[in-house]
């Protein structure tokens, strides 16, 4: 984001020009290609994109849990409160992870250890990051269970005794146990039914408000973003193509990909006979098209889209787009 005017210290987290590749068997997959974003304290940022767009890779890079090899961070800075996480020694990073930054994983069925009681799994994080006795950690774990709406007397039960929604509550309790400043929520409700999703999102929102936690919500569900985020970044082929406040993005989307996403979703209130899908499919990240990665699917593609790089353009205050159309004053 070209927000150089603002000092990075105004933000809780600033990601600058992050580039991540995966290499295996000689092939290089360009997963994240120069992503920059900023999050203020208490802000909720939605990261929206389709499968393989690089959403989860960004979150894992922030948390420092990318498997290396095959993943490699080629370039970039991840600055949390004035220190670059990418330069921190492993030992220091371990103090950040689960403490200042924590993550809610997509699949509650596999995120928990099946052999440990849910209570002990929450207490483990507390013991690791706070200088407390085992007893105190257990008390804190019980407190967290109650906070996410699970009776504390279920402390000694194992994950298989819980339903999907309850397991996700446990995962959330683990993530929030040390009052993190930043919560990375990677599709936190995708595995859940809508009525349970509503309960879980409601709970995350309430806890966040209480603890003043910022959140990056990674999702492919634009509806979820509309209901719980302040700002939205739309990501395509490892690049942010549009960044705006929720209001701007939903009422006045400008990037052809964002427009395409809206055309693909059937509405809950208005009737359309046919949807207008985006033609073609997401590009192969091993072999990204030259120029703008979206140009082979874009109906507005021009010659200049096929070569060179595109820069961010601020189309209205704090509404950024990565598209040539807005550099040569053509109207959509």
């Amino acid at each position: 984001m070209s927000k150089e005017k603002m000092k990075t210290s105004d933000f809780l987290l600033s990601v600058r020009d992050l580039e991540v590749v995966y290499t295996s068997a000689g092939a290089t997959v360009h997963a994240v290609n120069g992503v920059s974003l900023d999050i203020k304290r208490g802000e909720n940022l939605g990261l929206v994109g389709e499968t393989g767009a690089g959403k989860t890779t960004i979150a894992k890079a922030i948390l420092g849990v990318l498997p290396d090899p095959p993943a490699k961070i080629l370039n970039g800075e991840i600055i949390l409160e004035d220190s670059d996480l990418l330069k921190l020694p492993k030992k220091e990073m371990r103090k950040v992870r689960g403490n200042k930054i924590s993550m809610i994983f997509q699949d509650p069925m596999t995120a928990l250890n099946p052999l440990l009681t849910v209570g002990d799994q929450i207490a483990e994080v507390v013991l690791l990051h706070e200088s407390v006795s085992k007893k105190e950690a257990m008390n804190k774990a019980m407190e967290m269970l109650e906070m996410v709406g699970i009776p504390a007397d279920r402390y000694s039960e194992l994950p298989h005794q819980f339903s999907g929604g309850m397991k996700q509550r446990v995962v959330i309790a683990i993530a929030l146990a040390c009052n993190p400043e930043l919560l990375l929520a990677d599709e936190p409700t995708t595995a859940l039914d809508v009525t349970i999703q509503a309960q879980v999102m409601d709970m995350i929102g309430a806890l966040q408000k209480k603890l003043n936690t910022s959140m990056i919500l990674i999702t492919h569900d634009l509806g979820l973003v509309a209901e719980s985020c302040d700002n939205v970044a739309v990501i395509y082929a490892g690049k942010i193509v549009e960044y705006a406040s929720k209001e701007d993005l939903f009422l006045n989307p400008v990037h052809p990909y964002t427009l395409g996403l809206f055309g693909s979703i059937p509405s809950l209130s208005t009737d359309v006979d046919r949807l207008t899908p985006i033609p073609g499919m997401a590009p192969d990240p091993e072999n990204l098209p030259e120029g703008c990665s979206f140009h082979p699917r874009c109906k507005y593609a021009m010659d200049e889209c096929k070569h060179g790089s595109v820069h961010f353009k601020e189309v209205s205050p704090n509404h950024f787009v990565h598209c040539h159309m807005y550099h040569c004053d053509k109207e959509v």
Partner: protein
């Protein structure tokens, strides 16, 4: 209605488990008019997939009737069943596990044609080519294996295989939930085109409320094996009557940020469908629960075509 292609009457599907009888589908009745789509919605475990599979006789029903083109198909023998299968098909949810990994795309589509014994090898090939073009799969991919293709293209094969023998009824079991939205829209458009061209009748099973509103004329809402509401699509979204439908619709996140809707949060979670107590199964989570809810509920027609199974429907609406 005279034009019904398929009709279920008091259909039940129970499974024996070590803990007792699991009521997966409990006394469900509905009909689907020829050339239309019935959407079946509900949360995981509500029995919607079981209902779909029972309808096309992939599972034998416990009791009740399924009338297909005027005949009861619940008690057919194997020979009749083979003929029946040509006329009723299914598109599965997961395009990754529902295709044989050792068969090429064109082989997958040709197989049902050859099995029907209605076509010579050459005719079957020609027909398969035609179908591949219909579903929009370019010729260079016909000889590829499932693992070489992405989800959207694989699901096109799932559709191609289902329509290969010109069935009149297709059960679509979450056909787009494994796909990204831009690809999902392509497949939905394809299915609508095929329906128009071939006068197909769909039973469309999904948990996605916006998709079901888009594609179906009528919608059934299921909760733990019971049908709680059935209505024309638009009416259901404008005037949901059952407390569960209301909560379900209010829980769907909407992209419309100008109109904030009021959310009805439900208490608790699904109860077990094993040996359920009589009465409304939603009662444990319902905000309007009363003593009468523990008695068996009846599906009542509130307005033309709009059925609800709730004893307090008139008080709460």
């Amino acid at each position: 209605m005279a034009n019904n292609l398929i009709e279920a009457k008091n259909l039940k599907q129970y499974f024996n488990t070590s803990r007792g009888k699991l009521h997966a589908v409990d006394d469900v009745s509905f009909s689907i008019e020829k050339g239309t789509t019935l959407g079946v919605v509900g949360e995981s475990g509500c029995g919607k997939s079981t209902l779909g599979r029972t309808m096309i006789h992939l599972l034998e029903s416990t009791s009740g009737q399924i009338m297909f083109k005027g005949e009861d198909i619940t008690k057919v023998n194997n020979k009749q069943l083979i003929k029946l299968r040509e006329d009723m098909q299914i598109i599965f949810q997961d395009p990754f596990s529902s295709l044989n990994p050792r068969m090429t795309m064109i082989e997958t589509v040709t197989e049902p044609l050859l099995l029907s014994k209605r076509f010579s090898k050459k005719e079957a090939e020609e027909r398969a080519n035609e179908i591949m073009n219909t579903v929009g799969l370019s010729a260079r991919l016909w000889n590829s294996y499932p693992h070489e293709l992405d989800g959207g293209r694989r699901q096109r094969i799932g559709v191609a295989r289902a329509i290969a023998l010109n069935p009149s009824f297709v059960v679509c079991d979450e056909p787009v939930s494994a796909l990204d939205v831009s690809i999902q829209a392509q497949i939905l458009n394809l299915m609508q085109d095929l329906q128009e061209k071939k006068e197909l009748t769909y039973m469309f099973i999904t948990h996605d409320m916006s998709v079901v509103r888009h594609i179906s004329q009528n919608i059934c809402v299921m909760y733990l094996g019971q049908m709680v509401e059935r209505s024309p699509s638009k009416e259901l979204f404008q005037r949901p009557l059952h407390p569960y439908t209301k909560a379900l619709l209010s829980a769907v996140p909407s992209t419309d940020i100008r109109h904030k809707k009021e959310r009805i949060l439900l208490k608790g979670e699904l109860v077990s469908p094993v040996n359920p107590k009589p009465g409304c199964r939603f009662a444990a989570r319902c905000n309007y629960v009363c003593d009468r809810c523990h008695e068996p509920q009846k599906l009542e027609e509130i307005s033309p075509g709009h059925f609800v199974s709730c004893c307090r429907v008139n008080e709460i609406n």
